[in-house]
Amino acid sequence: MFEKFKHYSKFAIIRIKISLQNSMEFKFDFIASIFAEIIYMILTYFIATLFINAIPNFGLTAIQLFIYTQTLVIIFTIQNATKSQIMDSIKDGTLNLDLIRPINIIYQSFWNSFGTKTIIIQILKFIFIIGYILIFSNINIGLYILLTIVVTIISTIFANAIFYLLRSYDLKKIQAGSFFHRITNEGNISNYITTYPIYLLPKFMLVYSSFFSLYYIANTTLDVIYSANITNIVLLLGAEIVLTIIFMYFANLAWKKMLKYYEGFGG
């Protein structure tokens, strides 16, 4: 058991190192990416102010809207920085090499595509937001930090579980996995939720989006920023954990089944 744990952690550390080395090879690009985030934050704050001025009954202040959207972007970006392009590894044959290794294929795929550069930038941004909250807002900072970290971890597992469940169909070399993933990921609230608060969505969209992690990220963040309602937060986290476990179970099942199919065809 210990030996297995050692093997797995070593694999993760090596992958992070490689990813970091690749990013640091192009330092100018790394600095430019940080600069892009700074510009993005300034523009988002400006938009938040414009919205609040144009629509007085918006429900949030400009500062609250800014913290809300930025927190969501941080969590969402980290979540996406861990998703792999399994279709590419099938096409170029690297998946066969991964299958030979005595490490779980999903675990490998996760670390192979771990975007260290993106995650470092998002952590820097998170530190900036914490400083901003301390100076300009009366949000419970302890609760905010704790919940953002917890929600990020749970949501990353949740999103990856759905991702691997849908992408398992890629092993059949059909585009169904990719199709469903784009429809469910981009077609849900992800594009809008980072600009508009979740409560602006109509009820049927809220029901639909409750099957995706972003719904829980958005509502938990909104609760921390707006009302700090602990009962609500606990209920949301509980629901998210239950759904995560269900999706993990089905993702595992689907992968095992599709891998058998893939191997049956000489993959």
């Binding site: 690009d29 600095i31 892009a36 523009l43 602006l200 969209m205």
Partner: protein, 239 residues
Amino acid sequence: MVLTDIIVDIIYLFMMVLVWTKLFSLGSGQIGGFVLNDYIMYYIISMLIVMFYPAIENYFSSDVNNGNLVIYLIRNLNPMIRYYFFSMGSDIFEIISMSIIFIISSIYFGYFIISKILLFLVFLIIAILLTSLFRALVSLIAVKTQRIGGVMGTIFLTMSFLSGSWIPLNLFPDIVQKIFYFLPFQYMRYFPAITYLGKTNTSQLVFGFLISILWIITFYFLFKFLYKKAIKSFEGQGG
């Protein structure tokens, strides 16, 4: 994948309609001088315009990094025009589907007037020229830095914000809107859209036309000058 792109576009549009309907129910009958139908049409036009924008920088940086740029240099060809049509070719079905949505919604909301469509087409061509030249210009950075993700991120964030992609520019304070008239960015998206919506008067149209033509000429000569320099630098690196 084409079908997926079209479905995702439709869902995006549907979401924007829902969100702006809700925002209007919170506020008065007008936000920033626009009614709800104006916002819906604005996002449809905005999505249609953006589909004509080529991803020149992606093709160019990839050709610089894998050395394929040499092929164009040997043939004495400028690769940018080729990149434009590569990009357009991959988006053609999305353009057709969005054009259908644009025509149907224009008729439904009562914006379908031939003179407006002709005016819109003029400013659409200007927008395409302006954006293509701008993107071609910034893509030259790839020769110096190889990886351009971060730089492009900064430039395109600013560009999309100033061109009215995030929110229409009419929501900005008057003084900021006046400054935007002199910059090239609003002519890439916002100006063609509001021209179609009938939110511009004759003097604004003439001024907008002249300023955008001036920017096209500036970008063109700047690109010619910098392209020569970039190619020299590329050849100096052994390309």
